[in-house]
């Protein structure tokens, strides 16, 4: 009787009449957990649940049978937490740097819709979610009901932010550059490491001006590097162009710079992520003369993401994550951080 039933079900499944199920993944803290905006590959901005390194990911998997009363045979039900890097030029190969699995049900059958609890405790999420021009790093939960012919699965994308706190060393950038006997400037930026909502405060001091300058601007350039060795590919993108001077300066003049970063779509600096890609930022100071000739000086800056003020309602893991120093490799080390009440 069982064998006959299986053959009929296989046939029905083949013709699309078989039992099927919808899968739904719901986080336990869906009501309270913050969401973050993230731009997807096609350019759309969507909101996803936001996680930090070390936080537990827990919830429920709802398997709802399409045709109530009919049973669903399966090869096992599981849920995975995956962090992976996908290179656009090599889509088939996903590089998984985090891969956790929890078995929810052994092979058998479901006679009615069922809900399964899951918990991935203190999950390591070493890198920030990133969707770029040639590479994508994403985290997601994937629940799968295994079946003979075709699995049923559902993914829930998550966004991970990596937080840092004020770096111990943050020297200013100060340099004299020029073309001999023609143009000498001294430029200064107040820091070398800026957080994403920071302000670049600086100045350009003219020591020698023997060309006819028309205007000066500062550009923020994002460079995404993918590939290794001879196959390194740099994708440069000018994120911002900000005019800081209109007109011809003379010797001794000092032009101030005040550039608010919060207005631009920036990510933290990402260096050699899992040996697969990097995202670095540069300030490009550009002077343009009356004949449209361009004189420029590029300087790398480090961008980092600052944790929000620690609230009492924040999970303990997130509080620890927000106190990590930018650039340290030891995640356990942190300095005392003033907990402040949310004053809003």
């Amino acid at each position: 009787e069982h064998l006959g039933q299986s053959i009929i079900e296989a046939a029905m499944s083949f013709f699309g009449f078989g039992q099927s199920a919808d899968i739904d993944i719901v986080l336990n803290d869906a009501e309270t957990r913050k969401k973050a905006e993230h731009r997807s590959e096609d350019g759309r901005k969507d909101k996803y649940f936001l996680f930090y390194d070390g936080e537990t990911v827990s919830g429920k998997v709802n398997v709802t049978l399409k045709y109530p009363g009919k049973r669903l045979e399966h090869n096992g039900i599981k849920i995975e937490f995956i962090g992976q890097i996908e290179m656009y030029y090599d889509r088939g190969n996903h590089h998984e740097f985090v891969s956790l699995v929890k078995d929810l049900a052994r092979p058998g059958e479901l006679t009615q819709s069922q809900t399964f609890d899951f918990e991935f405790t203190h999950v390591e999420k070493p890198y920030e979610s990133y969707t770029g021009q040639n590479v994508k790093l994403r985290y997601f939960l994937r629940a799968t009901v295994g079946r003979r012919l075709n699995d049923i699965s559902k993914e829930l994308d998550l966004v991970v932010h990596t937080l840092s706190t004020y770096p111990e060393l943050n020297s200013s950038i100060k340099m004299e550059v020029g073309i001999e006997d023609c143009l000498h400037i001294e430029f200064e930026y107040n820091k070398s490491k800026y957080h994403l909502k920071d302000v670049i405060v600086g100045k350009i001091y003219f020591l020698l001006v023997r060309i006819k300058i028309k205007h000066m601007e500062i550009d923020i350039i994002k460079r995404e590097t993918t590939g290794t060795g001879p196959n390194v590919y740099h994708e440069n993108d000018t994120i911002a162009k900000y005019e800081i001077m209109d007109g011809a300066p003379v010797r001794g003049e000092s032009i101030p710079i005040r550039l608010f970063l919060a207005g631009y779509e920036l990510t933290p600096t990402m260096r050699d992520i899992n040996k697969k890609f990097s995202v670095r930022y540069y300030l490009n100071l550009v002077l343009i003369d009356e004949e449209e000739r361009r004189y420029f000086k590029q300087q790398e800056i480090t961008l980092w993401r600052k944790g929000d003020i620690v609230r009492k309602s924040m999970s303990h893991q997130a509080a620890i994550a927000s106190q990590r120093f930018e650039g340290t490799s030891n995640p356990e080390k942190f300095r005392g951080h003033n907990s402040e009440e949310d004053t809003s």
Binding site: Y166, I179, D181, C182, L183, E188, N190, D198, V199, V201, G202, K203, Y205, L208, V209, R210, I211, K212, A248, V250, R251, G252, E253, S254, P256, R258, D289, E290, E291, R293, I309, R335, N338, E340
Partner: protein, 160 residues
């Protein structure tokens, strides 16, 4: 270390500017005028020359005020020298106007007033653009063109 609520956006300290720098003449003064077209020669050997006057305070030029006479082919020579020896993208000259050199024209051909004016203006734009280029300023041919009475076509090319 407590979180500052508002970022410090005060200007960085800078040296006050010397008033003689602020109100003195700029160090980038460079003006070249191409004017006073004169027709030289007789018959079919005639050609037009222009006065090329440069006024500058750039130290790289030996003379701060110089005046020479040049013809169109001298400008062509300069363009070729710069294209060969320097790394700059040399701007275009006004046209060669070969058609105007043919006989039986209804106008004055090469010596037509409006044509000369058009050419004069194009040559003036050309020489100003080049002379202001820091890389062109290093070339001997430019200095010879602007500041020596005659162009020695057998000169030794090089950097100033």
């Amino acid at each position: 270390m407590s979180d500052p609520v508002v970022a410090d956006t005060r200007r960085l300290n800078s040296k006050p500017q010397d008033l003689t720098d602020a109100y003195g003449p700029p160090s980038n003064f460079l003006e070249i005028d191409v004017y006073d077209p004169q027709i030289v020669g007789v018959g079919r050997g005639r050609y037009t020359t222009y006065e090329v006057r440069m006024r500058t305070n750039l130290p790289i030029f030996k003379l701060k005020d110089s005046c020479v006479r040049r013809r169109y082919s001298d400008f062509e020579w300069l363009k070729n020298e710069l294209e060969r020896d320097s790394k700059i993208v040399v701007p275009p000259l006004p046209g060669k106007a070969l058609k105007r050199q043919l006989p039986f024209r209804s106008d004055e051909g090469l010596f037509d007033e409006s044509f000369i004016e058009e050419r004069r203006s194009g040559l003036e734009q050309f020489i100003n653009r080049i002379a202001g280029h820091p890389l062109a300023q290093n070339e001997r041919c430019l200095h010879m063109f602007l500041q020596e009475e005659t162009i020695d076509r057998n000169y030794i090319p090089g950097k100033v």
